[in-house]
């Protein structure tokens, strides 16, 4: 059975396999440096649907279905779906899976949702409550802008600290039996709020949560950053990455040599005009599902700490002057689990 370790972590005893992943992205992400790794690249923002929101749900459905197919399974083999998105009341996922006819846990962890889905999916398998679960997270640039910021056609300038919401969905099939990579442990984030109120600087709002969870993970499992080939945060962007490195340095931990951020990997900063980088639930979900999963399968990476990060504010809370609560969920993914972990 799973073992609770330290303050906020669980070590799994079963080898929970990531049997397959699937990813769908928008045009902009498809044109980015990771373009060749994605399964599906949309031709436009609506993908044949009547609205951006409907398009997001379609992407959710198609990507989840594709992940199951790639795992050589049918939807009936799936015991539970864990999925979430950024839209109000989680409609991106709810409408996306309504025809899939499987038990569903709708999650909201803002852009950390993929970490939350993987964590809860793994716990469910470890507990014996399921043998195969489907986890995923989605976001859509236009739908998110409409909900959180200004109309797309409004002629304003975005600050240099702002990030670009990734359009897409990343999904994975977790299985009780299967090939590596395996999910061997999780460290669940608590809310960390250092008083950032600028909704255009989400990297800064989330960096404290990321640094806190990385620190806790290392403490709980009694390891050093070198244990991992790579530590990968979700969507901190350039500003947030720099802050995370600095915050951990103050705690005496140097991760500058084996650390990257999905928000930095997914776009070409110079040519794609994305300012501080990518963000949104899909940012970590598609970057892991397409790029890092691929690298693990090829044994180019053996052991990673995957840390999707989220900013848990709403447009109402921001307007009321509330600061932005950050959260991050760490997932240990390994090809060759070490006994001592």
């Amino acid at each position: 059975m799973a073992k609770h370790i330290g303050q906020q972590s669980i070590k799994f005893e079963k080898k929970i396999s990531i049997a397959a992943t699937a990813s769908t992205v928008g045009t902009k992400e498809g044109e980015g440096p990771l373009g060749k790794y994605f399964d599906v690249i949309l031709k436009d923002a609506v993908d044949g649907e009547a609205s951006w929101e409907k398009a997001e749900s379609k992407i959710v459905k198609d990507t989840l279905t594709l992940a199951v197919k790639k795992a050589g399974l049918t939807m009936d083999d799936i015991d539970y779906i864990f999925s979430g998105d950024l839209l109000n009341q989680g409609t991106g996922s709810a409408y996306g899976i309504r025809d899939l006819n499987r038990p569903f846990f709708g999650l909201y962890g803002a852009c950390s949702t993929f970490g939350e889905s993987i964590s809860l999916g793994s716990v469910t398998i470890e507990s014996g409550g399921a043998s195969k679960v489907l986890v995923g997270a989605s976001s859509h640039f236009c739908a998110a802008e409409k909900q959180f910021r200004f109309p797309l056609g409004l002629g304003t300038q975005r600050p240099l600290t702002s990030t670009w919401t990734v359009t897409g969905d990343g999904a994975a099939v977790l299985s009780k039996n299967g090939a590596p990579p395996y999910i061997t442990g999780i460290t669940t984030g608590k809310i960390v709020d250092f008083g950032i109120t600028d909704a255009n600087n989400m990297g800064a709002a989330m960096a404290t949560a990321a640094a806190d969870i990385i620190l806790t993970n290392l403490k709980d499992f009694n390891i050093t950053p070198e244990y991992y080939d790579l530590i990968i945060t979700g969507d901190l962007g350039y500003v947030g990455k720099e802050l995370t490195i600095e915050l951990l340095k103050k705690e005496g931990i140097d991760i500058s040599n084996n650390y990257t951020d999905c928000g930095i990997e997914i776009y070409d900063r110079e040519n794609q005009d994305t300012h501080s980088g990518g963000s949104g639930c899909a940012c970590s979900a598609v970057t892991f599902s397409a790029y890092f999963y691929n690298k693990m399968k090829k044994n180019e990476l053996d052991r990673i700490l995957f840390v999707p990060t989220g900013a848990l504010m709403s447009s109402t809370s921001v307007q009321q002057g509330e600061s932005i609560p950050g959260i991050a969920h760490a997932v240990i993914i390994e090809n060759h689990p070490k006994g001592e972990l």
Binding site: P151, G153, L154, T156, T208, V239, E246
Partner: protein
């Protein structure tokens, strides 16, 4: 990583250092040039209308209407957003920017219906400007009445 008041303060300083500032000088130059061009276009229209024999009053109204129409059309074609990204305040401040701020939510919220979407959200950006513009003019009007 305790979020004490002191640590929060220290973190604000770290964030300030890590966050790049906007290019104020470059942005001002671009805003000046584009804003100036929009005003020149307005002046050009005004002069043309005067040539046609319109009164000063009518010329002002027609010029505004033409600029509003051009901006609205450009918003629909997705061009004004691009101009705004380049020019910043240069394209926000003139009347064309106001037009853009009304047209863009109208387009965006059309899918939620003509009443609950477009109708309810059309002034989501421009509403405060209208409200406080009218309010200020009333206050100024009252003050003017007494000191006249």
């Amino acid at each position: 990583m305790e979020n004490s008041a002191k640590n929060k303060e220290l973190y604000q300083d770290m964030v300030k250092k890590a966050s790049p500032d906007s290019h104020i000088f470059k942005d001002c130059v671009k805003a000046f040039i584009v804003g100036g061009i929009i005003c020149c276009v307005g002046q050009f229209i005004t002069n043309y209308l005067k040539e046609l024999g319109l009164t000063q009053n009518d010329t002002g109204i027609y010029t505004s209407s033409v600029l509003i129409f051009i901006s609205s059309l450009m918003t629909g074609l997705g061009l004004y957003g691009k101009l705004g990204k380049f020019a910043g305040a240069g394209s926000i401040v003139p009347i064309t920017g106001f037009s853009n701020s009304v047209t863009s939510p109208a387009i965006e919220f059309k899918k939620e219906g003509f009443v609950t979407g477009l109708g309810a959200k059309i002034f989501i950006v421009a509403g405060p400007v209208i409200l406080y513009g009218v309010l200020t003019s009333v206050i100024v009007g009252i003050i003017y009445y007494f000191i006249k």
